[in-house]
Amino acid sequence: MTEQPIVLEAKGITKNFPGVLANDQVDFDLRKGEIHALLGENGAGKTTLMNILYGLYKPDSGEIKVNGQPVVIHSPKDSIEAGIGMVHQHFMLVPVFTVAENIMLGDETTRYGVLDQKAVVRRVKELSKQYSLEIDPNAIVGQLPVGVQQRVEIIKALYRNAQILILDEPTAVLTPQEADDLFVIMRELTRRGVSIIFITHKLKEVLAIADRITVMRAGRVVGTVDPKDTNEQKLAAMMVGREVILKVEKKPAQPGKQVLEVEGLSVHDWRGLETVRGVTFQVRAGEILGIAGVQGNGQTELVETLTGLRPSAGGKIRFSGQDMTGKSPRLLTETGMAHIPEDRQRHGLVLSYPVADNLVLNTYYKQPFGVRGIMQPAAIDANARKLIQDFDIRTPSPYVNVGKLSGGNQQKVIVARELSHEINLLIANQPTRGLDVGSIEYIHQEIVAMRDRGLGVLLVSAELDEIMALSDRIAVMYRGQIVVTVDANKVTREQLGLWMAGAHPEE
């Protein structure tokens, strides 16, 4: 294969955030028509580097060349002019706008001062034909499925004649099959001369699609390798800096009696749409039931209803042998339910409170922390010191605001609090999202340990690998329904992927 010319080159990029060296002398280059994967775990500095290339951050030092010419990129405008387009992990789309409006934004065509919608629609149709990216230019973006929204983002970049495309964790929100579709599109784009930077932390994907792989760790480039010369184990070691056990060790489950029984549960979201539609399942003591599914298929609403945060629209919830439909979070907690919420900063913590207060967030009123309506600082302090030790929470003191801790330690505060009182069921929703490998391993071990102590565990995760590694049984959720529940040992990744995409399980 002939060496293609280098279209993008970054040299010696350094970026300091208060307290964190996000990029340290990073070198990176991209050849014409290749897919260059940038691999690294959360917080390794991948996104920072890309935001610098896209003009969202200013580097402290370093040089960027496009097609061999040094360029100064102060804003996204500069990078768009240099032919760089970026598809962000969290889509940069205005949900209430149409596809066409989103695409033209910032690069509008007008006639006599009036927006020329027709011209844009025409051009979008051309582009979607040219790259076989099917799209309706007049659809409202917020109503489109995630995979289609991603296509809008790609067309948005092509509309601006991007020759270099940065895709930031594009598969995080997709089913395995949708991810495969995306890979086809990526191949198609490279065939037409577009060069792609593919950012991810998923090892399988890089090996499947990338032409070259650059691995980052703690703000530095560890190395660049050819996918032919490496494997998952080696990449994982490069990423984390030590040998990683990719499999969670666990003994066979010893299921006991049922702790949670859900029967025909329906839930409405804030718009009044039925997002959970007649869901039935059971969780037994001593087992982990994993709920797999692409984000936004009703998992959030399901968990919120199970934990008393959202009213149900029909059906029954039995917990610990009692009917608990529509009961308050407080009663559920007192009955022995622990909950690791999906959005830890929104639901799980008060960021402006010290660690000690967060550790009694749902027990503050009970003995020994609150006596006849008066808070007991001594008991709260003792509790904090014990849990900080037991759960290895890295904090300078119990009185540091929890918002100042790292994501992993914030999650440990929640885990410590939830597991410290008497419980018989743990509901964990996306328990490792956004965490580093060390914290992920820790949380996984805790969850398995809880199961082995005889607790029922309901694990909800969009990460299929996590579901497969931890669960004893797996239920697949699609469009608000559980399409199938299977034994974790008797199912393949591919099969789960198909169900997650809506395929009907036929025996």
């Binding site: 934990t307 979070p329 919420p341 960021l351 402006s352 749902n362 808070m375």
Partner: protein
């Protein structure tokens, strides 16, 4: 502590510029202000008299802030509390057909007046909690409703039948409902002491009780509060009611310890000043007390200032608005004085969403 002090200092300097601009001498003006507020026993007494309603109203706004609520309606709660206290003060003996001992009459007037304020604030609180109607607009609407209602009452059913002049006011309250002055010949009264005690109680409530923990948690992160099993809606109503209770106290003390009646227009501006006081005091009870004394001193000293320099007392409103500006926008103060540290942003209010 430094930012509020610098904010006051900056406002005083800018206020001086305003005084120069309208042809006055700022030094004489400020000397007059200080003489008038701290220069004599009488001046001190009057400063305390002014500060008393400010402490209550400032605590009211501060407590609501702790609960994540912006109570712009202290004005209306205060007026409603004052009208109620006046009614109990002058009419209760008639209704009962007997005189009451002060030990019963005073607590009844003050207590029911405060409750009236609590009720007035609980309405926008409940609207916020159960319908999502934003408390900022609703408390302002309740101000105008209170203003209209008191106008109606004081011009109609509650009007003094033997008025001294044409102003709309209630009859004088019974002697048994009056809080006595502390010293003969000065207007300094027990209400000020009561205000300090209440400030301490508010401190205990916010920082030492589980109810305070609930209020603060709802104020800091309502989603986490709900997750933690706190009844968020009820807590919002309680926070507003307690806030209104304090604002109502401001009104009742004015009636029972100072004016011995309620008259129209006596309280114009307390509600807004209370916002400045709460923010200047960093929503901490001790800070509120200090800020309230400062504001009381300014209002009190302004008369002397006007006497000396012909600068109208209204300039105080400008200076107080400037203090609020610099306290609220402490980033400006940090910018002017080149602070190195960045302050943590404390979320006080939220948008229309809920």
């Amino acid at each position: 502590m430094l930012v509020p002090l610098l904010a006051v200092l900056t406002a005083v300097v800018v206020g001086g510029v305003v005084i120069v601009a309208v042809g006055g001498n700022p030094f004489f003006a400020y000397i007059g202000l200080i003489q008038g507020s701290f220069g004599s026993a009488k001046a001190l007494s009057e400063t305390a008299v002014w500060a008393t309603p400010y402490i209550f109203a400032g605590l009211a706004v501060a407590l609501a802030f702790k609960g994540g609520l912006f109570n712009i309606g202290a004005e209306g709660q205060l007026a409603f509390g004052a009208v109620t206290a006046a009614l109990i003060g002058y009419a209760l003996p008639d209704w009962l057909g007997t005189d009451l001992p002060a030990i019963i009459h005073i607590p009844l007037a003050v207590g029911l007046g405060a409750l009236a304020g609590a009720l007035w604030a609980a309405i926008p609180g409940a609207l916020k909690a159960y319908t999502g109607g934003h408390e900022v607009i609703n408390t302002i609407m309740m101000n105008y409703i209170a203003l209209n209602l008191t106008s109606f009452l004081l011009n109609g059913p509650m009007r003094d039948p033997n008025p001294i002049d044409l102003s709309a006011q209630t009859p004088e309250i019974a002697l048994s409902a009056r809080i006595p002055p502390l010293f003969e010949g000065l207007r300094f009264h027990w209400g000020f002491i009561l205000a300090l005690v209440v400030a301490f109680l508010v401190y205990i409530l916010i920082w030492k009780t589980t109810l305070g923990f609930e209020i603060r948690t709802v104020g800091s992160n309502p989603d986490a509060a709900q997750y933690a099993g706190i009844n968020v809606k009820r807590t919002i109503v309680i926070s507003m009611a307690l806030s209104g209770l304090l604002a109502g106290m401001a009104g009742t003390i004015e009636v029972t310890a100072l004016n011995y009646r309620h008259e129209l227009g006596f309280s114009i501006g307390y509600g807004f000043d209370a916002i400045a006081i709460a923010l200047l005091g960093k929503t901490h009870p001790l800070g509120v007390v200090l800020a309230a004394i400062l504001f009381g001193a300014m209002r009190n000293g302004a008369t002397r200032m006007q006497f000396l320099t012909q600068i109208p007392v209204d300039v105080i409103s400008v200076i107080q608005a400037l203090i609020l500006l610099f306290v609220a926008a402490d980033a400006i103060i940090r910018y002017i004085y080149r602070f190195k540290t960045r302050g943590e942003r404390v979320v006080l209010t939220r948008g229309w969403g809920g």
